[in-house]
């Protein structure tokens, strides 16, 4: 078990490209940290620097109580799980899991104990004689996890370990990895581009873009209070809606559409000099309502919408629509029975909305 500190970490390549810029993070013992962001955001590079597969150009990496920038990867007491099933095709499951321990000169009995323990945890006891070819994708990734578990490292580093699995299996393995973490309590850093994985698994999420941390927080914090437009749009599915408009007389206006801004929010906006200025309103699809009771009580945030597409998802329906020529999505209860082409009233829950600066894209409130 270990704490990890990343202080002012940079990664620069020979061609001067900065893949990671001033990365600062303190990871507590037993945390499950998820690095998330679009491809090329620097999340894997950061993970690889922690593993020692990439040199750190600048800054300090501390695992436990020692600075490990110059410590060989194999001496950092970490174990990695990759997107590709990291398995030896010609070895059976048992030997695959035992191999790393043999390399580290563990005695035979200890190897057997650890492999059997891991096999039990991962439900692989009946598959120990099988070769990887005879296993399903999920079983293979479980063996790859087993290879990491037997090492009993201070830190697990996982680089998109579920990307090769189909959607159903991904959901299942997601839960299994979370359970595994609860059981083993090993500090884990997990990289993914999938915000659902990040939201469901993380103790804290680190959202990255262009090599820079955009926000660090618990899944709830980053969902409820995104620091900027990027985080708001990246976390959550369907994504947060962003509507461009002016703040006038306590209203957010888009051409001839006006919605009342709650006084508390308006005061902050006023205090920060946004009166009569253009701002971005961010509102999540589930905060746009079609229930008559809600609309009745929210007359000053009511909008008229022509539904372009109504997508029935099961319990919910996604309504793709436009207001003042700007696209938005509402997520409503499927019982509403709304169809494409219909004209309906919707109301925004302005207590849940956010305002962002149009230039800096930072959240104002």
């Amino acid at each position: 078990m270990a704490e990890i500190k990343l202080n002012h970490i940079y990664k620069r390549y020979d061609n001067k490209f900065e893949a990671v810029k001033d990365f600062n993070l303190d990871i507590q013992d037993k945390e499950f940290i998820v690095f998330v962001g679009p491809s090329g955001c620097g999340k894997s590079t950061t993970l690889r620097m922690i593993a020692g597969l990439e040199d750190i150009s600048d800054g300090d990496l501390v695992i436990g109580d020692r600075r490990v920038n110059d410590v060989a990867p194999k001496d950092r007491d970490i174990a990695m799980v990759f997107q590709n099933y990291a398995l030896y095709p010609h070895m059976n499951v048992y030997d695959n899991m035992a191999f790393g321990l043999k390399l580290r000169k563990f005695d035979k009995k200890e190897i057997e104990r650890r492999v059997m323990d891991a096999a039990r945890i991962l439900g692989l006891e009946n598959l120990l004689d099988r070769k990887p070819k005879a296993l399903s994708g999920g079983q293979r990734q479980r063996v790859a996890l087993g290879r990491a578990i037997v090492r009993d490292p201070q830190v697990f580093l996982m680089d998109e370990p579920l990307s090769n699995l189909d959607a159903k299996l991904r959901v299942q393995m997601r839960a299994e990895i979370s359970k595994l973490h609860q059981r083993l309590q090993t500090t884990t850093i997990y990289v993914t581009h999938d915000q659902t994985e990040a939201m469901t698994m993380a103790t804290r999420i680190v959202i990255m873009k262009d090599g820079v941390i955009q926000q660090v927080g618990s899944p709830k914090e980053v969902y409820d209070a995104p620091d900027n437009v990027f985080v708001g749009g990246f976390i959550g599915s369907p994504a947060m809606n962003f509507l461009r408009g002016q703040l006038e007389d306590g209203y957010f206006t888009m051409n001839d559409v006006r919605v009342k801004v709650p006084e508390g929010k308006m005061k902050t906006l006023r205090d920060n000099g946004y009166t009569n200025k253009e701002v971005l309103l961010g509102i999540r699809p589930e905060d746009i309502h079609d229930e008559p009771v809600f609309i009745e009580s929210s007359q000053d945030t009511k909008i008229k919408a022509a539904i372009d597409v109504a997508e029935l998802m099961g319990a919910e329906t996604y309504l793709y629509s436009k207001v003042a020529d700007q696209d938005f999505i509402a997520r409503v209860d499927s019982r509403s029975d709304i169809h494409s082409g219909q004209h309906i009233d919707l109301a925004l829950n302005m207590n849940k909305c956010h305002f962002f600066d149009t230039e800096t894209e930072q959240r104002i409130y």
């Binding site: 679009p38 194999k74 174990a79 990291a86 398995l87 095709p89 010609h90 191999f99 790393g100 390399l103």
Partner: protein
């Protein structure tokens, strides 16, 4: 050389009956010498490796391996038949020298059946000569193996799977080796993240290595309207790699074929490139590759 001989005295040799006890080096002029391993500190060995070419496998006794080394590394074409069966080279390149090189080497050798001949050119590169040239799963297995070695040794590697060589005359074996190695080197430089290269996949990389920045930029901009849509790009790549077969690609992506069909149509609509036509597909494939270039 005299200075080295003087410095290491009895521990210096040009031949030995116990070659495994020595580190062997070769000068640029081809002079070969060894220094007893016990005499050298790690730092001294590293220094000598920097100054001279380090012969990793000079101590091997297998005459078949010796023949291969002689033809491929020493470029000696006077060797009689090396092999009569068709072979395939699998080149490998390690990003770092493993600190426990012997164990790493043993692990790699142990991973293959006896039909594979391992040749280490130096501590970072070499090749496996595969005599059983069948193997549909080869690329996938090699990817898994490379990832497993990285997980166990924290050493990353790239591999290049060559074509089957039917003409096994020493000159053709050497020529093929040198050509493939050149291609592999270009591939690693251009797409360092790729684990396993194959010949069809490496050809565009070679073309890019000789293209101007402007050309690459131009090719990149062909799919700019969708460049931010990672999901769409992944789908199109899978579609292209499944030989434009929607059913196969959708299975690969675990999505319904109608969803993929929709994504392909969306791609065509947004880029204006008919990716369903052969020429359009080639263009899009090249454009996708530019996003992986360093």
């Amino acid at each position: 050389m005299n200075n080295l001989s003087e410095l290491y005295g009895e521990d210096y040799a040009v031949t030995s009956e116990q070659p495994e006890r020595y580190y062997w080096y070769k000068t640029a002029g081809g002079e070969r010498f060894g220094v007893r391993k016990a005499r050298l500190s790690d730092e001294e060995h590293m220094l000598l490796c920097t100054l001279f070419y380090h012969e990793v496998d000079s101590d091997m006794e297998d005459p078949v391996q010796q023949k291969w080394v002689s033809v491929l590394f020493d470029e000696n074409l006077d060797v009689s038949t090396v092999t009569e069966k068709p072979v395939r080279y699998i080149h490998f390149h390690l990003k770092e020298v493993p600190s426990d090189f012997t164990e790493f080497k043993e692990a790699m050798i142990g991973l293959f059946s006896t039909e594979v001949i391992f040749l280490f050119k130096n501590e970072k590169e070499g090749l496996m000569v595969q005599e059983n040239t069948e193997g549909e799963q080869l690329v996938e297995e090699l990817e898994q193996m490379a990832a497993a070695l990285t997980a166990d040794f924290f050493i990353e590697m790239s591999l290049f799977v060559g074509q089957v060589i039917e003409d096994t005359t020493p000159s053709n074996l050497l020529n093929t080796y040198q050509t493939e190695k050149r291609w592999f080197t270009s591939g690693i430089k251009l797409i360092p993240s790729q684990l396993v290269f194959t010949q069809p996949a490496i050809v565009p990389a070679i073309l890019f290595s000789e293209a101007s920045k402007e050309t690459i930029h131009y090719i990149k901009t062909l799919i700019e309207p969708v460049s931010e849509d990672a999901e769409l790009l992944k789908s199109i790549r899978a579609y292209l790699e499944a030989n434009l077969n929607i059913t196969m690609a959708s299975k690969q992506l675990y999505v319904h074929r109608n969803s993929l069909q929709y994504r392909v149509d969306k791609f065509i609509e947004r880029t204006g490139i008919d990716v369903k036509s052969f020429k359009g597909a080639v263009m899009v494939y090249l454009a996708l590759l530019t996003y992986e270039l360093r």
